[in-house]
């Protein structure tokens, strides 16, 4: 029978504010800004780049995992971190789909967004830090999966750019 050994919770409140306006040429512009708060703690952060919110959550979840594992030597720490990293791979894929749908506003924003995706990939890998010994083979597999994901995202950005350019 599967036993849940630890049931730790981290909750976040995310607030998005959308600002819409027209410039002198009557062209519509959109700006998003956000606010995230860790419910169980004091920390909060404001952001314009959703990657910062992802990074904020990732940081707290890493800390939660490390605090839990520090007191429990019976669990395989490598395994726990690898499984957590897979969760973030899946999350990153869904989140970028959502952002593409929400941000079909201007070509400039999609260019900015492509840069942000690259940053997310870089910081996601760094944030996990793999503090424990991990087999090189597993690490390479994970990086390869992430690389394939970024390739797919870049392809989507290129398609979006084509679509927006043809609509202009």
């Amino acid at each position: 029978m599967l036993m849940t050994k630890n049931h730790n919770i981290a909750s976040f409140v995310l607030r998005f504010t959308q600002e819409l306006w027209q410039d002198a040429q009557k062209e519509a512009h959109i700006r998003w800004r956000g606010y995230i708060r860790h419910v169980q703690g004091h920390e909060e952060n404001r952001f314009t780049d959703f990657a910062e919110a992802v990074s904020f959550m990732q940081r707290h979840l890493t800390q939660l995992t490390m605090d839990t594992l520090a007191g429990d030597k019976s669990m395989s720490q490598d395994k726990v971190f690898n499984e957590s990293f897979k969760m973030w791979e899946q999350f990153a894929s869904s989140y970028t789909d959502m952002m593409f749908q929400a941000m079909e506003q201007s070509l400039k924003q999609s260019e900015v967004f492509r840069e942000q995706v690259d940053e997310v990939r870089e910081s996601a890998i760094k944030a996990w830090q793999f503090p424990f010994q991990t087999s090189q083979e597993e690490l390479l597999k994970t990086v390869e999966a992430l690389r394939a994901q970024v390739e797919s995202l870049s392809h989507k950005v290129a398609e979006l750019e084509k679509k927006l350019a043809s609509e202009k």
Binding site: H7, S11, V13, W21, V39
Partner: protein, 269 residues
């Protein structure tokens, strides 16, 4: 019938048996008498009551397991069941000390294994707050006088965040966030409506908004206009500088074009 009379205005002072304040502090009055902290017996009975208040919706009850999962997440189901029963018993005793044995409780109702707060005979400040805002919105630009009155009633009720003592419990955070956003919008709208008649009140309201959310840009614009209407151009420009500084520091953003245009108009005056 005046426009104001057509609005659905909630009762501010209620004669209902159970009155609950949730905004800024948590207080309960039963038949006119305040229930002090000692009245609750167990802390978990108080938690349970606050949880029922938070998840209240007319006719919607929660299954006992859902309640246990939210309030006793660290306990196995059997232990949680026992703790729930003890807390519920204490809660019912607190709310209805004279209830006869083997009669169904009135305030915390049960349907099978589901439970919920009976909203008949209960007045909750958060509900009245929201209803006043809705009435103010309904009055809208067609009847600004009524809108101002309604928003001022809502403002009087918003003494602070929802259940501040439970700010670290995630079951209260959705309601807290929802009410805070309503309050910020209401204060901004009211500040805007009072610009001509009471610019000082507009300034006070926008200062309060910015204390809660320093990047609520509408509040900066209204404050600039309020200072300008008082003939205080330097303070109007200083407000703009604060806006620039805060938005830059918190978000790396410049003010919106509308705010920048207002600053230019002020400079040109």
């Amino acid at each position: 019938m005046s426009a104001f009379a057509k609005l659905e205005i909630p009762q501010l002072q209620s004669e209902t048996p159970l009155r609950i304040q949730t905004l800024g502090n948590f207080q309960v009055w039963l038949n006119g008498y305040e229930l002090g902290s000692a009245s609750w017996g167990r802390e978990k009975a108080l938690h349970l009551f606050q949880f029922f208040v938070t998840v209240r919706q007319s006719g919607v009850y929660l299954h006992k397991e859902q309640i246990i999962d939210r309030l006793w997440p660290e306990v196995e189901l059997e232990g949680g069941d026992r703790d729930f029963k003890v807390a519920l018993h204490t809660l019912n005793k607190t709310l209805e000390p004279d209830r006869k044995p083997r009669t169904e409780p009135y305030f915390i109702q049960r349907q099978g294994l589901t439970y919920g707060l009976n909203l008949e005979g209960v007045w909750i400040d958060a509900d009245a707050f929201e209803a006043f805002i809705a009435a103010g919105n309904q009055a809208g630009p067609d009847d600004p006088k009524s809108a101002i009155h309604c928003y001022q009633q809502a403002l009087a009720l918003y003494k602070g965040d929802y259940l501040p003592q439970r700010r670290y419990e995630d079951w209260s955070s959705v309601e807290r966030e929802r009410l805070q956003v309503l309050a910020l919008g209401m204060m901004t709208t009211l500040a805007n409506l009072l610009l001509e008649s009471s610019p000082l009140e507009s300034i006070r309201l926008t200062q309060r908004v910015l204390t809660i959310d320093p990047v609520w840009e509408d509040a900066y614009r209204i404050q600039m206009q309020a200072y300008l209407s008082q003939g205080n151009r330097p303070l109007a420009l200083r407000t703009y500088q604060q806006c620039v500084a805060v938005l830059g520091e918190e978000l790396g953003l410049a003010p919106l074009p509308e705010t920048q245009q207002l600053m230019e108009q002020i400079k040109d005056k």
